[in-house]
Symmetry: C2
Subunit: 640 residues, 2 copies
């Protein structure tokens, strides 16, 4: 039987697929950076391609005006040649390094650290989770004929005071030949283990050592990977991609349900792994690093994401009483997880608190330094799950709620993550002129989280939408679209795709729900702790907004509490920052377990007041204007 | 191409073999207990079979009078049917449990402990290397919804004060379903690890726990396995078999040379593993124990044997300056070694001292308790290598020399190990009548080590051989055989094989060389330490002699120093006893590393005096009769 092939142009890349698979599956297999944010359900309409020839079966909903079709709704039945237009490609797996600083409240997030946040090296003794140790071994003589392993461990102890090294059988088997061929100049790659070290590998030569690690944020919507030089403590690069699991549902609940189907857990595990491995591969190639030189990986993510990545059944996470399989810090060999780094490299999962507050939040807390401060602080992570932590170095309480992927661009007609061409800033002049700035200054392709926050705030301020988030009929830029009222953001001629970029009433509704959930969680947690918002001395904001977040605008929308903006710090992706800190410091890694254990979890789903808080927050900035005096003052008297 | 098959009768077992393989290979593949002690070189003449039909190619040396041929010298060229006669079978993988006690100096060795040696349980707190821990876990509630793993580790801590448990990903993946299906009554199988425990497995039910371990002595000639109940501290059974590596040479040097050939190391590793796994399988079946219930294995053996078992290249062991890959205690998962017990069971290798003093000697020292006594002691292990240790709890010095397999029955025409039918006692009455006693009281099949010692001493005392070990022409029982003078031990009608059991001049020469090497090592080590033999307060003798050793006769031959017999204790297989002690006590296991480190190794091969000592010892009892006053008195004035 002939296996159908798909050839992508202009890449001239051909892959074999099973009959019945979609073009989107083929795209994944071929590694073509086709945009897609709905996970292959024909909703986001990003995966537009043109068939140049061959057999294909297309759902009615997958046929678009003109030559384009949706890759996710086209099934391969025979050999086919497909063109992937420039406008459908999601460029730049590379996240911005924040070199271009914006004015005012725009806070640049470099891959190294958010402005104002301390660097790992300044706080902790650098002690990466894995490290290369060059060693000159004295050759054996009749008077010193200890075993090769003893010779190695003796010098580790003598030269570096390193004790308790576990050596895998695989390395032992090659040890005698290796050390002799290397003339007794070797480099030991050591991984930290509880109370000691594992010998990950032994390499010939004792010259300039190289060892790299990856910090991974396994988000429900987006996966971010940073490649870190473990010897220098620097970050070489960062990339991000949509979590391929999104094909099986937007949120953790739908993923958990899918995991319960036959083969579902393995499909989800593979989807996350493929995404991560692709990102690692790309970064490694880009920076001239061999996969075997990557010897440690620290993964942070919510509890469900870490379960799925590790192949742990997540079913009980959504069944009362909501017990995960594991929240403790885990380490194992990379090969046991499937990460394509050195097969014996150290793979670590950040410790979490409960089924709904995971290792990503522990990482956030570490990144923000909440665990080290006396200030009463609040951390808000507005990911697909919205989590809030309140506390300081003496206590930490946390809660979680489902916010949806809107702030990462999910469920928004023209939403996208903060890649090249994403609109990240929007201003509307008093005369109604709308100006935008995109990532990389490219032609606009869509709106990332920070752009959505900006846009919504500007529309509100300009009176184009009302305080319930509804576009005002007759207001500038508001028009009737195919699905009701919509706001024109970028007209077709200016957009990369040559089509109007719009924000629909449904998009606004999704954004409103997300912000209401996040704020309701934060506000109810404070209430339950008996803390007034005004008492909070410092607010840290994390999330997938992009590289910038305009704090004032986020407050104007009621996403963040109405505190003086100087009290608010945007820490960007705190999850990957915390994972990177742990990667670079065994002290941080150990401390992470203490932080996770210290956090007490408050279950909001059983709190009757949550719905009340949520409904009150479904308004811009909030139904209770007394809670947002500054925002309301800026907006003027409520108009309804 | 047709694959030739060999069918064995009366077993009616058929195996496929590659053309050109020997019948002995086919025997191994079929698991038929055919006797063979020369490793397939046509020397021992034990592997006698009858071809009933089919194609076979037989070396001239493989054709025996009558219908029999040697399996090792017959190559399979097509399908063949072979009868394996009863007399060629080596019965009873089961070692004697020492239930039948002999009189006088015969010291029974039970599988539990040598008489006079303390039991592990009396000396150390019982703390097996792996143990089952039944647990009743409190089911989760909304007020106690910690992760499943936390719930497990919390109860291990609360109920048993067990901390630092490492859990493999495989077990985590099945954890949530298992604990729920088991109604939260579970049994954790824990293996000791440095500073903590590994969770080997988690089983449903918290009833009467079962967990077993094996202690393995990996001898150059013989492999011995004991099956131990880890919960009760008792030994269920013991078996032994010829190390299949013997096909690649008699001694460690020829094995090391073979390991250097392409594929040689893997062949040797597999040969040892197959032997061990067959023995474990047999024991497990016999005692109704599942392979997965065997959760720990401690292997002792000389350094080369442990290298080969673990697949570690042994080449440097025989190259100056004689450095092994490893002497440190090693632990890993059973699957990493290939032991067919629970795949995540703990596999441990006893620590050794140097290339020529291995973990078997450390085990001997532990079994004898030399490390705990103030008495100046000497330990002599007369295996295929002869090792001596002198010292006490304050110091331990050791040496090694190659003795050959004679005392294990190797290289002796009618030598065999102490299995059913082996002659283990011999007496010659003043009238020249020779009486014997066999293992299990069966018809004699051959002579085991203790029988050989007895026989040689009786022949010497009766004047049938002279002090140089030569049969005296004209003496009773001495006759001209096909290869020179020989002594008739059992006439054909009384023997199991229906053939005369004899001891040839060449056999005696081999025994003499072995005893000379062992004594020379012991004597030179004492000399180099400035110790007179008479100062030695206690001598421990270990080795593969069988289950009994007549100390007086061993002294008469000059195998052991001429000390009062009450100062000498035969500890039997100290290697497997020490391994079993470590299996049953983590304290012993940890202590083994200290003992190995404490032992200083003396290289005798570079000591010019060794040859002189060896040559002097090639006499019965010794050239220097002043060293053996009691023995010489018993024998009367030297006759030459």
């Amino acid at each position: 039987m002939h296996t159908p092939t798909v050839t992508f142009q202009p890449d001239a890349r051909t892959v074999a697929v099973e009959a019945g698979q979609t073009l989107l599956d083929a795209v994944f297999a071929a590694g073509i950076p086709l945009n897609s944010v709905c996970g292959g359900r024909g909703i986001c309409q990003r995966c537009r391609v043109c068939v140049q020839g061959g057999e294909i079966e297309i759902d009615a909903a997958g046929r678009l005006p003109g030559r384009e079709i949706l890759a996710c709704l086209a099934r391969v039945t025979g050999d086919v040649v497909v063109e992937v237009p420039e406008a459908s490609r999601i460029e730049g797996e590379q996240i911005l390094t924040g070199a271009e600083r914006g004015p005012g409240a725009f806070i640049p997030i470099s891959v190294e650290a958010a402005a104002g946040l301390p660097r790992v090296a300044d706080l902790y003794v650098p002690s990466p989770l894995a490290l290369p140790v060059p060693l000159e071994l004295p050759p054996p003589t009749l008077h010193d004929c200890v075993s090769d392993l003893h010779r190695l461990t003796r010098e580790l102890r003598r030269q570096r005071n390193i004790r308790e090294v576990t050596v895998p059988m695989e390395v032992l088997r090659t040890l005698p030949q290796m050390v002799r061929e290397a003339g007794w100049h070797v480099t030991a790659l050591l991984g930290r283990a509880d109370g000691g070290f594992n010998l990950i590998d032994l390499l010939p030569g004792a010259g300039a050592p190289r060892a790299y690690g990856v910090a991974v944020d396994v988000g429900t919507t987006t996966i971010v990977v940073h490649l870190v030089d473990l010897c220098r403590g620097t970050t070489l690069g960062a990339t991000a991609a949509l979590n391929r699991q999104i094909a099986y549902g937007d949120d953790v609940i739908s993923r958990i349900i899918h995991a319960g189907e036959p083969g579902g857990l393995e499909r989800l595990r593979t989807a996350a792994l493929d995404t991560i491995n692709l990102l690692i591969g790309g970064l490694a190639r880009a920076h001239g690093v061999g996969r075997d030189e990557i010897v440690a990986a620290v993964c942070a993510g919510n509890t469900t994401m870490l379960h799925l990545l590790l192949g742990l059944p997540p079913a009980e996470i959504r069944r009362e009483p909501y017990t995960p399989v594991v929240t403790a810090p885990l380490t194992c060999a990379a090969a046991d997880v499937g990460l394509r780094i050195h097969r014996r490299g150290l793979a670590a999962a950040m410790p979490g608190v409960s089924s709904y507050v995971g290792g990503d939040i522990t990482a956030d807390v570490l990144a923000a330094g909440m665990d080290r401060t006396e200030e009463l602080s609040m951390l808000i992570d507005a990911g697909t799950n919205g989590e809030t932590v309140i506390g300081n170095r003496d206590f930490l309480a946390c809660c979680a709620c489902s916010a949806g992927p809107a702030f990462e661009g999910g469920g928004i007609s023209w939403g996208m993550r903060a890649a090249r061409g994403a609109i990240q800033r929007v201003e509307i002049a008093p005369d109604g002129t709308l100006t935008w700035a995109t990532v990389g200054g490219a032609r606009p392709r869509g709106l990332c989280g920070s752009g959505l926050v900006d846009l919504l705030a500007e529309l509100l301020r300009a009176g184009i939408i009302d305080r319930a988030g509804r576009p005002r009929p007759g207001a500038p830029r508001v028009r009737e679209g195919p699905d009701g009222l919509e706001v024109l953001v970028v007209p077709a001629p200016a957009s990369a795709a040559g089509r109007d970029i719009v924000l629909t009433a449904a998009d606004i509704e999704n954004l409103l729900r997300a912000k209401a959930a996040v704020y309701a969680g934060a506000s109810l947690l404070a209430r339950r702790l008996g803390i007034e918002m005004q008492e909070i001395q410092r607010v840290y904001v994390a999330g997938g907004f992009g590289t910038y977040l305009d704090i004032r605008k986020a407050i104007l929308l009621g996403l963040l509490p109405d505190l003086p903006p100087e009290r608010v710090t945007f820490i960007g992706n705190g999850s990957v920052t915390g994972a990177r800190m742990a990667l670079l410091s065994y002290e941080v890694w150990r401390h992470a377990a203490d932080v996770a254990q210290m956090m007490t979890y408050r279950e909001l789903s059983t709190d009757a007041a949550f719905m009340e808080e949520y409904v009150s927050a479904m308004f811009l900035p909030h139904t209770d204007s007394a809670r947002f005096p500054r925002a309301c003052a800026e907006l003027g008297t409520p108009q309804q």
